[in-house]
């Protein structure tokens, strides 16, 4: 049996910059990078040597930098409404809270599969919204709420400020009886934010 050149084994703890081998031995997988023909780790984690496919990758032990990606489900607060878009301040990606925020745009045509008359019928400033990232071109996060688990999770009455309760496809205020339209998520009022 030929001697393996690398002394590395699977499951070893490595820190960023740890040498993992050379490109003649392995192809570089997740969590690694190549510089001048050598493979190094770029995050802390445990090594994973796939000897069948000759790939070295890192199983991350750190949560990693959290940035919205296409397809990720994000939660945020509606900051303001423009003519046909809502600006949403994203503070949560998946279930991970961010230390800062990212801004997202919700365009009226991405609110629902059916026709929406006005963006004001979908959400209002201050609402907590769950949405999916559909594009990150030029680092502008375009969001969509066209799914039954996406949409407004929590809203306040625009007249008296009381928490709104779901009433079929609308929301009503138990305090003043005001009836408002929203693009409601299936989890409306149940998700803890």
């Amino acid at each position: 049996m030929p001697k393996t050149r690398s002394k590395r084994q699977s499951g070893q703890f490595v820190v960023p910059g740890a040498p993992l081998g050379v490109i003649e031995e392995f192809t570089s997988g997740n969590g690694t990078y190549v510089e001048q023909g050598r493979i190094y780790a770029k995050i802390s984690g445990r090594t994973l040597l796939d000897l069948q496919n000759k790939t070295v990758s890192i199983f991350p032990l750190v949560h990693g930098a959290r940035v919205p990606k296409v397809g990720s489900i994000v939660t945020g607060q509606v900051l303001n409404l423009q003519n046909k878009t809502a600006v949403i301040r994203i503070f949560e990606i998946g279930k991970e809270q961010l230390s800062g925020v990212f801004s997202g745009l919700l365009y009226i045509s991405d609110v629902s599969r059916s026709y929406v008359d006005s963006i004001h019928d979908a959400c209002k400033p201050g609402d907590i919204v769950r949405a999916k990232v559909i594009s990150e071109k030029n680092r502008i996060f375009h969001l969509s709420t066209a799914d039954k688990n996406l949409g407004v999770l929590y809203a306040l009455c625009s007249q008296c400020g009381h928490v709104l309760q779901q009433k079929r496809y609308k929301v009503s205020c138990p305090n003043c009886g005001n009836l408002e339209k929203r693009q409601i998520a299936i989890e409306y009022g149940k998700a803890c934010v």
């Binding site: 703890f13 820190v15 960023p16 910059g17 740890a18 040498p19 969590g31 990078y33 510089e35 190094y40 770029k42 995050i43 802390s44 984690g45 991350p60 032990l61 750190v62 949560h63 990693g64 930098a65 959290r66 940035v67 961010l98 230390s99 800062g100 925020v101 990212f102 801004s103 680092r139």
Partner: protein, 245 residues
């Protein structure tokens, strides 16, 4: 002057704090000390006590500072008012502004900033107690905080100063040694890539002394790198045990 000043190095080559010329100060590093930060680390190097925290990557405010091709690393080196003998004004001094820039430039080559365009990574280095060599200890600890934040990095950066005190070349100068000594050479180094990212010199050295000083501080950086690795390992091995329980 009648009284002879106490010497920094005695005839056996032992320094005022009992160290050998090529010995680092006793160093303790801890990773992940702050809950609210994305990544954090704490270092005690001799009498230095420094805390580093990383937030991000996140959106840049004000927005015109965002760079289209890479993330912006924003670094703040700050000394607490109680970190030195005489109260330091908490406002950023000229020295702190310069050190922030120098530290940022020492760490930038180690980070894959191009992975997160139009975002910023905010780095805060808070010196709680200063006793010479805080810029180097700051770089060492900031690099760990970045690694703890899970930001992809080319290598860890370790930094250490060396210099000349009473005609002798010594490693890791303290405050007194720095002030009374003839020269001080802080150096930051990425051990796996064998790259120097910071090199400054204050004072005068001959070319020969300069080369010796550099190799001395490189050795110091390599020792610190081992401590950095150990600190990260301690954190993540402990995390794993928590899960297994």
């Amino acid at each position: 002057m009648t009284k002879k000043e106490a010497k920094m190095i005695d005839k056996d080559g032992v320094r005022a704090d009992g160290r050998k010329p090529d010995e680092l100060r006793p160093t303790k590093i801890e990773v992940g000390v702050l809950n609210n930060a994305d990544g954090s680390a704490y270092i005690e190097q001799g009498k230095n006590k420094i805390l580093a925290a990383v937030y991000g990557p996140h959106e840049v405010h004000p927005k015109h500072l965002a760079l289209p091709h890479r993330s912006r690393l924003r670094c703040r080196y700050h000394m607490a008012p109680f970190s030195v003998d005489e109260r330091k004004s908490p406002a950023p001094s000229r020295r702190e502004v310069e050190l922030s820039k120098v530290i940022r430039e020492a760490l930038e080559p180690s980070i894959f900033l191009e992975y997160y365009p139009r975002t910023s990574i905010d780095l805060f280095i808070e010196v709680l107690q200063a006793h010479g060599g805080t810029r180097c200890a700051g770089i060492t600890v900031a690099s760990l905080a970045l690694a703890d934040a899970g930001i992809p990095m080319r290598d860890l950066t370790a930094a250490c100063a060396a210099g000349k005190v009473e005609g002798q070349l010594v490693l890791d100068l303290t405050d007194q040694e720095d002030k009374k000594g003839e020269a001080d050479v802080p150096l930051a180094y990425m051990p796996n890539l064998d790259a120097v990212t910071l090199l400054q010199m204050d004072g005068q050295l001959t070319l020969e002394e300069f080369e010796k000083t550099i190799s001395l501080s490189l050795e110091g950086c390599k020792q610190l790198y081992l401590l950095q690795k150990e600190a990260l390992k301690v954190k993540y091995v402990a995390v794993k045990e928590d899960i297994e329980e």
